[in-house]
């Protein structure tokens, strides 16, 4: 059932709508604003998928250029940002496939893995697990952990939980069904939780699992 907020949201056009209209009228400075607004997100998404900095730089540029060229095709049924993300995801997957020639890279096949679906590490985490690590060390742990997920799980988690797309937008962006997104999201969350537990649970838990000897 729609909430009051979502009804209000429908009545008030998203600020991007006016910017897109200005770009269509030939105002390049309006596109400058849109690029500034979303370049960080696009770079982040591209880096999450390709796991390669140079590829992410190329993807970000190509996605914005492609969106500019194809702006006439943007229907306005979805948000401009979601449409842009879809372009960036496709560009990223193309890069990933190029790098991994011969290796299957697919986000639409269902991945058979039970990892995390039955939680094994049941020790609670320290109240502020981040406090035990420096910024750089923590970023490295988070990177390594998420990079270990199958691409199909990783992309769903990044779009839905990190970039804040709705389940429906994530499904639309990736060409997946809503139940497929939900199933992947649950498994991605549980796998990440399981893997991060190795670093973040209370000391007692570390001893129990044998990680700290």
């Amino acid at each position: 059932m729609p909430t009051i907020q979502s009804i209000a949201g429908q009545l008030e056009p998203h600020p991007d709508v006016a910017l897109v209209a200005r770009v269509r009228d030939g105002d390049v400075s309006a596109y400058d604003t849109l690029v500034r607004k979303y370049e960080r997100q696009l770079f982040r998404i591209a880096q999450h998928i390709t796991q390669n900095r140079e590829d992410a730089e190329d993807v970000m540029q190509d996605a914005f250029l492609k969106a500019y060229e194809k702006l006439e095709q943007f229907q306005g049924n979805s948000k401009f940002y979601t449409w842009l993300v879809r372009i960036a995801v496709n560009e990223s997957l193309m890069r990933l496939r190029k790098r991994r020639t011969g290796r299957m890279v697919s986000i639409d096949e269902d991945i058979e893995t039970d990892e995390g679906s039955v939680p094994r590490d049941l020790a609670d985490w320290a109240p502020d697990p981040e406090q035990n690590y420096g910024q750089a060390e923590l970023a490295e742990i988070l990177r390594k952990t998420i990079q270990g997920l199958p691409p199909g799980f990783r992309i769903v988690f990044v779009l839905r939980d990190v970039e804040g797309l709705s389940t429906e937008e994530t499904a639309e962006t990736l060409g997946l069904s809503v139940p497929a997104v939900k199933s992947r999201l649950l498994r991605a969350r549980l796998q990440l939780r399981e893997r991060l537990s190795r670093y973040f649970h209370k000391k007692k838990g570390l001893m129990e699992t044998g990680i700290v000897k």
Partner: protein
């Protein structure tokens, strides 16, 4: 409710997409299952930690360089 039932609804609980009745059932299960409570809390923290930490930084100089490259090509008509 079993732990398996709880786990199947974990995402809906985290994303606040459960009915009031279902929420009560889930809370009742949590009240007597420490394991599920840990899974719920640590899964929430997992999401929060990824949301609040920038793990792929885009340094300002690189950002500016890429931004300039994009805009110069757009101005030329791509």
């Amino acid at each position: 409710m079993t732990c398996k039932d709880f786990l199947a609804l974990l995402d809906d609980l985290i994303d606040d997409e459960v009915s009031p009745n279902m929420r009560t059932e889930l809370q009742t299960h949590l009240g007597r299952c420490g394991h599920c409570e840990v899974v719920l809390n640590t899964t929430r923290k997992t999401i929060e930690i990824y949301r609040s930490h920038e793990i792929y930084d885009l340094p300002t100089d690189l950002r500016e360089r890429l931004h300039a490259a994009i805009m110069s090509r757009c101005k030329k008509g791509c």
